[in-house]
Amino acid sequence: MALEVTVKTAGDVPIPDHSFEAERNQYHSTKILKELVRGAPPDSLKVLGVIEKDLCIPILTFVYGEAQLNGIGALVSLARLRQEFYGAQPDDDIFRERLHKEALHELGHTFGLIHCSLVECLMYLSNTILDVDRKGRAFCRHCQRALNSKIEPGRVSKWTGR
């Protein structure tokens, strides 16, 4: 386990209407992240949102997820992690593997980690799905050490977006 914390699964959180970017048919991840954090239980150390919709930020055509650096909120989109998005047959194992990596990557940001230059590290910046698949399932030693120094006993709430 890369993160040793208590995890609680919370209920569905509605996606805020104003986060929809009609022109791009995508959702503004920063806006959703804000709502997610606002609604998080007061005792949560971190909150991870998982959303089916494709996410973007104004300056980028898409993002796999977004997190608050040194904050509590992290958000991951499932849309581009599925094989179907690339016209391939659905594959649950691949999908879970990707989600595992991107969820921990975003959570890593909430613990103050920035991108790592090692391709095999979870904190490597993924710009393409190939980057996601190429990286390993764990933080590199350097990032893990940085993470350990930040983790205190607490809870991580896991919420599911609709």
């Binding site: 791009r24 920063t30 973007c56 930020i57 104004p58 300056i59 980028l60 055509t61 898409f62 993002v63 650096l69 940001h109 920035i114 991108h115 910046l125 710009n127 393409t128």
Partner: protein, 449 residues
């Protein structure tokens, strides 16, 4: 990295400043942001900036003025102009006035990463004093090809490296992506540049014609062969032979060609003497050869013989950032050819060009610009001067089934360069039906297409 990379972001939109800054911070850069030119000029002297990302359109001091002021203070300052699709033409001008690059919002995450990595490498080289700005700009060109797309720039690098070898190169890409231009570039970059570049279009010839075209024939080889004719293989001796549309040749000819490539020798039709091949072979196709192999239409062994070095040219719709560069390039060229003084295109016209899907790729763009320059009454090409077939992006709302069929058929015809046999195959109808549809919808081949 000895020190952190400093980036200054200037944009009047808060949302852009915030999202760009946090993205850059996550990536480990030191970032400052300013909401307008005045604020930016206050911050500017406080640090040495590795890069300034400046929005083109801002109230007050605009992006270009700001860039000029930065450069007055720090002549080598690297500036990237950020722009929306609509103002991309101005951004190209900005590059002429010294911007390192321009980027169209929203950025593709990969492009942003690569651009910044390139800049850091560039900075390192500048510090080591072995790089000149001039050379950097030149990298966007390779002979008659021009691009700022990272995939194409990688291809340019590859071409510069492999040109000096004698390896066979297989160039794949849709019609109009510049396969022949790339082949010529390989020839021009090679040591064979003084020797001939000979091009053969395999699709346009029947099996027997192609055979005599490639290998030549002896006098009396067949009825009508009243004098010796040297084939393209022979004419290309010491130079480069470019076999275009290689995916269209018959299985028999594929076998002959394979034998010739393996033995490096051939005979003229009806001849007995063996001629040794000294030319380099380049081949190209717009077909999916892997699929053709599966279907038994293309020989696996020939594929591997040709595919020693493989280059795939991406379609123009996947490198739209090149549209403004290409537009400028074609305008410059047609200004000379037509003796005109067209200066550029209007914002509205650029928007239309950026939004089009370009099924015919750069060749289609060239034809559109050529026609626009013929009809343009002004020194700027306007939206009205640009004529494009209905774009896929317009969607299918309110269109009749006939309209959709017409658009689709036209698209397939353009993609296959009006090759009726091939288009009919793709459409899954017979040739007669295709001819009837062409007549019914009054589809016309565009001049030069």
């Amino acid at each position: 990295m000895d020190r952190k990379v400093n980036i200054l972001v200037v944009d009047d939109e808060e949302i852009v400043r915030d999202s760009l800054s946090s993205w850059l911070i996550d990536d480990g850069y030191e970032v400052a942001a300013a909401e307008n030119g005045t604020k930016a000029l206050e911050i500017f002297p406080s640090r040495e900036w590795d890069l300034c990302l400046v929005d083109l359109k801002m109230p007050g001091i605009d992006g270009i003025q700001l860039m000029e002021e930065f450069k007055r203070q720090v002549p080598d300052q690297l500036v990237i102009i950020m722009t929306a699709f609509a103002t991309v033409d101005t951004a190209v001008k900005a590059m002429k006035e010294g911007a390192y690059d321009y980027m169209v919002k929203p950025f593709n995450p990969e492009d942003l990463s690569i651009t910044i990595r390139k800049i850091i490498e560039h900075q390192k080289l500048v510090r080591e004093n072995i790089f000149l700005r001039k050379e950097l700009k030149k990298q966007y060109r390779l002979h008659d090809m021009i691009s700022k797309n990272h995939k194409i720039l990688e291809i340019f690098d590859l071409v510069r490296t492999v040109a000096k070898s004698n390896s066979t190169v297989l160039i794949q890409g849709e019609s109009g992506t510049g396969k022949e231009l790339l082949a010529r570039a390989i020839h021009e970059e090679s040591l064979r540049r003084e020797a001939p570049f000979i091009s053969v279009s395999c699709a346009s010839l029947t099996e027997t014609l192609l055979e005599s075209e490639l290998f030549g024939y002896e006098k009396g080889a067949f009825t009508g062969a009243d004098s010796l004719k040297r084939g393209k293989l022979e004419l290309a001796q010491d130079g480069t032979l470019f076999l275009d549309e290689i995916g269209d040749i018959s299985l028999k000819l594929q076998m002959d060609l394979l034998r010739v490539l393996e033995q490096k020798e051939f005979r003229r039709v009806g001849g007995s003497g063996l001629i040794t091949i000294t030319s380099r072979i380049l081949a190209a196709t717009n077909r999916d050869l892997k699929k053709a192999i599966e279907e038994g239409k293309f020989r696996n062994d020939l594929f591997y013989r040709l595919n020693v070095i493989s280059i795939h040219l991406p379609p123009l719709r996947e490198r739209k950032e090149d549209v403004p560069l290409l537009v400028e390039h074609f305008i410059d060229r047609f200004n000379i050819e037509m003796d005109k003084k067209v200066e550029g295109v209007s914002d509205g016209a650029m928007r239309v060009l950026m939004e089009h899907d370009w099924p015919g790729n750069a060749r289609e763009l060239r034809n559109v610009i050529e026609r626009a320059m013929v009809v343009a009454k002004d020194t700027r090409i306007s939206e009205a001067d640009i004529s494009l077939p209905a774009s896929r992006k317009e969607g299918t709302n309110g269109k009749s089934l006939g309209d959709i069929e017409k658009d689709h058929i036209l698209r397939i015809l353009v993609e296959n360069r009006w090759n009726i046999i091939r288009s009919a195959q793709v459409l899954g109808i017979d040739r007669v039906t295709l001819y009837n549809k062409i007549k019914k919808y009054e589809l016309k081949k565009e001049v030069g297409a």
